[in-house]
């Protein structure tokens, strides 16, 4: 009865015997499509079941599952089911959905490294609990044969566990030693191995003290620190990848007059590509057909759209605004200007890797210090007592009691708490040392277009026009999807203006809209088209036949929170510079509006990066906030960088922190949080030092017992973690 169904390969014994047959069967079957959708609005049980059942009801869908944590739906469907159909299905039941590029996401499907760490952590936790149970019995008075038996059972549990769970440390320590460096893992590995070796020696002579519990708890606490560290970064990485996956790289290829949707990676030189209004240029090329306006703000920072007609050269990343364009590709993939910009980033980036994190600095002091101390106590005791066994025992006690544990937890516990706090406010910390670098910032450089401003125009002079003109303008603007028209019509509708009766409404791509009103020709569009002198600020012109053209002036709308962010940063004594590729007039207006003293206009990408490098050379720590391709080099040249989620992929990759919401106000807060996080990290180091100052003399004098070591280690780790939690 299952003959008609496709059997899973392992369920069919014949297939196991003949793998070739299985491969053949596989090829004949149409491959199923896996579609990933981002559904930001799901938040409850009802959402889950309504989204899942709506998707399942769509013909061709085999299974659908919502992941509420990631706010994603993954669908397995027949190959002919298109993501657009499913987005439509969800739209009808009221959920906004976006397609995610499965190729970009697949890397994060299962977090292998995190799972591996968790598994080692679980094993270490299990073993340390059992060994601790046995150790407590020894400490509370078990003697003779019972004590020896407990010790041997502990050894039997501890040895395999250390071999399995300690692997991340062994590997790190080995690679550090191979490069003739010392890192935190070297003393850790030394402490663990020495503790296990001396304990084995001790118990084989029925000795009193064994440090198996200490070695295991050490492994457990340190793995917990590693896991926290990994998880913080994994969350940031998967969210960043989701942002990247939202831009599905597809293009419309024109083949013999027919359009076909293909992945951008498959485009070749000389291909004709159709770019619809609102679409982004997938390639560098030359326009062969159509007129339109293109928005170059992401590449150059210019706010004003540029007129485009056949023969004009366009670059990948520019946005087509009004009419469909056919572009002949002159550069694809890695050769496009978009990618060449990425090379600038690589050059600038090499400067940043010079930053050494606080943890590395601490390790540089700590690792040699501990090694010297334990070696000294070994040789000291050897001279004094002449007994290798006692001396080795004391050296091991010194290594264990210096608590690399607290040091190992000091940084990850704080960064986890701080990143969690910032994540709730809509900031994504991508780089491990970003918080430490952010805490040092004294100069903030902002980009204008798309960063301080939202990149959407806002009507400024509605009061200058008579009602008749407003009514005609509204009717004309409703006939176009151009950003200025959209803004104009929403502003006028909000003001309660009723559209005039305009007939024969047509849009002339690249110029504007035209129609007839009471027998006169009316036009709304570019200055030259209606016969007016162009002005410095962004404007759309309304011309009624036989009347002088009138200008509707626009200004770029401020991004939400821009005002607060700039004010808060100025109040906290930061120097603020506005750097833009836009014209001086627009930049100066914005600088004055926000109270920024220092501004630079018409800056080329190289200028921006060079100025920031110069500031860095003066000893300033620069925070760069930018979104465009023209900012990427500057973003990576700066000490630390932030970009909004609306930024181009390349800019987001180049920056350390991504703002998830549209709001800029968390920036000032983030600087504050970073400062207190660094303060907590330093405090944690101090706490660990105080423990050492008390515990080390005890160990060196040979008074430490495994009980004292266990108490010191647990107490210091818990204090450090609690101190970190104060940051939440």
């Amino acid at each position: 009865m299952t003959a008609a169904m496709r059997p899973p390969p392992s369920a069919c014994p014949a297939c196991i015997a003949a793998p070739a047959a299985a491969a053949l069967a596989e090829r004949d079957e149409p491959q199923e499509a896996r579609i990933a959708l981002s559904v930001p609005a799901v938040h409850c049980a009802v959402c889950i079941s309504s989204v899942e059942s709506a998707l399942m009801d769509h013909p061709g869908v085999r299974s659908a599952r919502v992941n509420l944590t990631l706010k994603r739906a993954s669908v397995e469907a027949d190959p002919d089911v298109m993501p657009q159909d499913l987005i439509g299905v969800l739209d009808r039941i009221g959920y906004e959905a976006h397609e995610l590029d499965a190729g970009t996401l697949s890397a994060t499907q299962t977090d292998k490294a995190g799972r591996d760490l968790l598994m080692r952590l679980a094993v270490a936790g299990f073993a340390s609990m059992n060994v601790m149970l046995l150790s407590v019995s020894v400490w509370s008075g078990a003697a003779d044969a019972t004590r020896d038996m407990f010790h041997w059972i502990s050894a039997a549990i501890a040895l395999p566990t250390i071999v399995f769970s300690g692997q991340p440390f062994f590997r790190n320590a080995w690679s550090a030693l191979k490069n003739k460096r010392l890192n935190m893992d070297v003393p850790i590995v030394l402490a663990i191995t020495l503790a296990v070796v001396t304990s084995l020696w001790e118990i084989s002579l029925s000795g009193e003290h064994a440090y198996f519990d200490a070695a295991l708890t050490l492994t457990f606490f340190l793995l917990a620190g590693r896991y926290l560290d990994h998880r913080t970064r994994a969350i940031a990485r998967s969210a960043a990848e989701e942002l990247a996956a939202l831009e599905v790289p597809r293009a419309f290829l024109l083949l013999n007059g027919e359009e076909k949707q293909v992945p951008v990676a498959e485009l070749k030189l000389g291909d004709l590509v159709l770019v619809r209004p609102g679409g982004r240029m997938p390639v560098d090329g030359e326009i062969v057909e159509g007129t339109s306006e293109i928005d170059r703000s992401l590449l150059t920072g210019e706010t004003l759209p540029v007129f485009a007609e056949a023969g004009r050269i366009v670059s990948a990343g520019e946005v087509n605004l009004t009419g469909p364009l056919v572009v002949r590709a002159t550069a694809v993939g890695k050769d496009t200007s978009l990618h060449r910009m990425a090379d600038l980033v690589a050059i600038a980036e090499s400067g940043r890797s010079r930053y050494t994190s606080l943890a590395d600095k601490a390790a540089k002091l700590y690792a040699p210090g501990v090694h010297i101390l334990s070696a000294l106590s070994f040789f000291g005791w050897l001279l004094y007592s002449g007994d290798v066994r006692i001396s080795l025992n004391i050296a091991a006690a010194v290594l264990i009691i210096t608590c690399p544990c607290a040091l190992g937890l000091a940084v990850p516990a704080v960064t986890t708490a701080a990143s969690g706090r910032l994540f709730r406010k809509g900031m994504l910390i991508k780089h491990a040392t970003a918080l430490e670098r952010l805490a040092q910032v004294d100069t903030v450089v902002f980009d204008k277009t798309g960063t301080l401003t939202a990149g959407t125009p806002e009507l400024t002079n509605m009061g200058d026009h008579v009602v008749r003109d407003l009514e005609i303008a509204l009717a004309l603007s409703q006939g176009s999807a151009h950003p200025l028209s959209v803004s104009l019509s929403s502003a006028l509708t909000a003001a309660g203006v009723k559209p005039a009766r305009v007939e024969d409404l047509t849009e002339v791509p690249g110029y504007g809209t035209e129609g007839r009103w009471q027998g006169c020709r009316v036009r709304l569009g570019r200055a030259a088209w209606v016969g007016a002198e162009p002005r410095a600020e962004t404007s759309a012109w309304l011309a009624v036949e036989g009347d002088t053209p009138k200008a509707f002036a626009f200004t770029d709308r401020l991004r939400a929170g821009a005002d607060e962010a700039v004010k808060a940063l100025l109040d906290s004594g930061k120097e603020i510079i506005l750097m833009s590729g836009d014209a001086p007039g627009a930049v100066e207006t914005l600088a004055r509006r926000l109270g920024i003293q220092d501004w630079v206009a018409e800056a080329l990408p190289e200028d921006k990066a060079a100025r920031i490098a110069a500031l860095g050379a003066q000893g300033k720590h620069v925070l760069m906030v930018g979104d465009g391709l023209n900012d990427t080099a500057a973003l990576s040249a700066a000490h630390v960088s932030i970009s909004p989620a609306s930024a181009l992929d390349a800019a987001r990759v180049a920056s350390d922190i991504v703002l998830l919401g549209g709001d800029l106000s968390p920036i000032a807060d983030a600087v504050q949080t970073a400062r207190s996080a660094t303060k907590r990290i330093r405090e944690n180091f101090r706490i660990a030092t105080i423990y050492n100052v008390i515990a080390v003399p005890i160990a060196v004098l040979g008074l430490a017992t495994p009980l004292v070591a266990a108490l010191a280690m647990s107490a210091s780790s818990i204090t450090v973690s609690l101190n970190a939690l104060r940051l939440r």
Binding site: A45, T69, R115, A122
Partner: protein, 52 residues
Amino acid sequence: MDVLAYLIPISLILGGAGLLFFLFTLRTNQYDDPEGNAQRILNGDWDDHPKP
């Protein structure tokens, strides 16, 4: 003290069973969507009959 001969193996076996169960849940991706799992329990879809 003879009771130790039973108690220690029993405690190890019970703990080990817990560990194996945790590893099983880890391997079957049961920690991928903690929030969704918390919400799905409120879902009444399969209350009357099992999921086919």
